[in-house]
């Protein structure tokens, strides 16, 4: 240890209190879960409820993992909702049943991998565009992605002519809707994505580069990091995650339309922020992001489950987001 334990240092706090103050996100989530459990007399802990929560949040989880990484590099992405919407529409258009006369490619039957390929490429391309604008165009991420959001929306409407892209093949829907034993497929995909993101952030050079860029882009450049390339990479990865999200969402709904996933960017950003990913860059973990998604998920799910009046849901949600982030921030307060 380089630490001079002599006069200057104190032993780090141990035990429960230290754990709580280090894991506010987890504590928030667990408290909300217990609260909901009490309010529903334990029914929210039953498997069908847990399963629903997992299914409901899985698509958002992909978006959150993507934007979470972007925020770690000190960026932001407002285009998520419409990119996911466009991807879902593209994917759906290649997965419509061939006997559906109103299909975009009526009478054509495409192989099952095509919707995924098309969707992921679409998402990836939008991510790439965002990344290039931010990295090489030097646009603030907020404004670059606001622009691409508008572009994605335009493409979606032009592609679908505002019509619903529906009647998807059962084989396609099963990919999203199926289960492996009691565990929904979607949850498995999320788990796989989490492992990949965890390895990326924790165990690869690129992941460390993301933190470095978010922490101090100039210093990252001086340290030999290709800041532009890594920035393009993070937006592209995120785009690919949105692509997967869009494909799975289309399969889950059995359709896609212009309203699909609208506003998902705010949900995803709120979720990762609640999960402790800091908007000042350089801070955040995969587990935090997932906890954030689950926290917002349990708020939504709980309020729906309890039948809270929809007008009041908005109030409650607003206050809980504020409170959750407030407690999370407290742990940094002393340092500034």
């Amino acid at each position: 240890m380089a630490a001079k334990t002599a006069a200057g240092t104190i032993e780090p706090k141990k035990g429960l209190r230290a754990f709580i103050s280090k894991n506010t996100n987890l504590v928030t989530f667990v408290s909300l879960a217990i609260l909901l459990g009490l309010l529903t007399r334990g029914r929210s802990f039953e498997w069908p409820s847990v399963r629903n929560l997992m299914i409901a949040e899985s698509v958002r989880a992909f978006a959150a993992l993507g934007v979470g990484m972007i925020i770690i590099t000190r960026g932001i992405d407002l285009s998520i909702g419409y990119v996911v919407c466009l991807v879902a529409s593209v994917a759906a258009s290649f997965a419509q049943t061939s006997d559906y006369t109103a299909a975009l490619y009526a009478g054509r039957d495409f192989p099952l991998w095509l919707p995924f390929l098309a969707g992921i490429i679409t998402g990836g391309l939008f991510g790439l565009l965002n990344g290039v604008l931010v990295a090489y165009g030097r646009l603030p991420a907020f404004i670059a992605t606001l622009g691409t959001m508008s572009v994605a929306r335009g493409f979606q409407l032009i592609y679908t002519k505002a019509a619903v892209v529906g009647s998807l093949k059962d084989s396609y829907k099963t990919i999203s809707q199926g289960s492996l034993g009691p565990i929904p497929n979607l949850a498995l995909y999320v788990a796989a994505a989490c492992v990949v993101i965890w390895v990326l952030l924790r165990h690869t050079k690129r992941g460390t580069n993301f933190y470095a860029i978010g922490g101090n882009a100039m210093a990252a450049r001086v340290s030999g990091i290709n800041v532009e390339r890594e920035t393009v990479a993070v937006y592209t990865y995120a785009g690919i995650l949105y692509g997967i999200a869009g494909c799975l969402l289309a399969g889950r709904l059995g359709l896609a339309n212009a309203l699909t996933a609208n506003g998902m960017e705010l949900d995803a950003i709120a979720a990762v922020t609640v999960g402790g990913v800091s908007q000042t860059g350089g801070v955040g973990t995969m587990s935090g992001m997932v906890i954030g998604v689950l926290t917002l998920g349990i708020i939504n799910y709980g309020m729906t489950y309890l039948g809270v009046d929809s007008y009041y849901q908005l109030l409650v949600k607003g206050f809980i987001i504020i409170a959750a982030v407030y407690f999370d921030m407290k742990k940094y307060a002393r340092r500034s």
Partner: protein
Amino acid sequence: KPVIGALIRNLDEQFVADYAANLKVLAAKAGVELKLLDSRSDQATQLDQLNTLITQGVKYFVIVPNQTEATEQMAKAIKAVGGGAAFSNIQPSVAALKVGPNFFLASSPESVAGSIQADIIDNYFKKNPAALAPGKTINALFLLGQLGHPAQKYRTEAVKNGLKAKGYKLNVIAEDTANWKPDEAQQKMDAWIAAYNGKFNIVITNNDGMALGAVESLLTAKYTKADAKDGTILKVPVLGVDATQVALKSMAEDKLYATVLQDSVGQSSTAFELALAMATGKYKPGFKAWGLSPETKPGSEAPANDAAVIGQCYLVPFKAVTKENYKSFMTK
């Protein structure tokens, strides 16, 4: 070459998009220059667009307004340049029609969609009385459109009132907005199935998108029965509005129970023919648009409830879309 302005509420909505598409077809056929603008659900934008077109010299309009309450102001602005307009989808206010004889209702009031849903539900329970809860009680789940949206408000009110008028006891098990979105509807439905399993006997939604989200959720939760004798393989019927092609497909598969057609072709044709007649000076009171004559007797719902403007009201019928007739609405 006559010019007609079309101010369209929101082209993201399929009904409105279909309405606009038909307008374009009609304009091309009639050799009319159509200036079509989309206000993205923002009334302020629609006012700006109206001003712009007036500045460009456009006098005659087909309007799908954002809000009933804004129609009078728009009518006055059009009146000021000596023009006229036909309003579709969202009804104009009585005051808007009173602005002048050149202002028309060419619509199927949103509330009719709700009333038709009530009729369909009534039919269903008449055929399947066993599905009713004791005491002629309907235990309903409601999935609403974006709160404050006129279609959300009027459709919901009308179906509730319609059921009560038919002597049912309506018990709202849960009611929440899904903002017209299938994905939100599916999530709400997932939670409700867990929370109210077996406690509801119908799912009523404000549009097909949400209805399909609910259907998907029920299917995934295996909330199904072996047969489709009552018209659906789901344990409870799900109702939508719009009669989109996907919804019809779902009906063909015995999933969605029924929907309501808001006739985009009928409404747009009626409104267009009125505007064209004005623009070419062919309009006279009593003019027949899309084969429809104006109402003569005041009805129950504004603005067609005011004798002073009843001659300016063209009511395009809504249609119930059920097992019996859905095939006729499908594109070939």
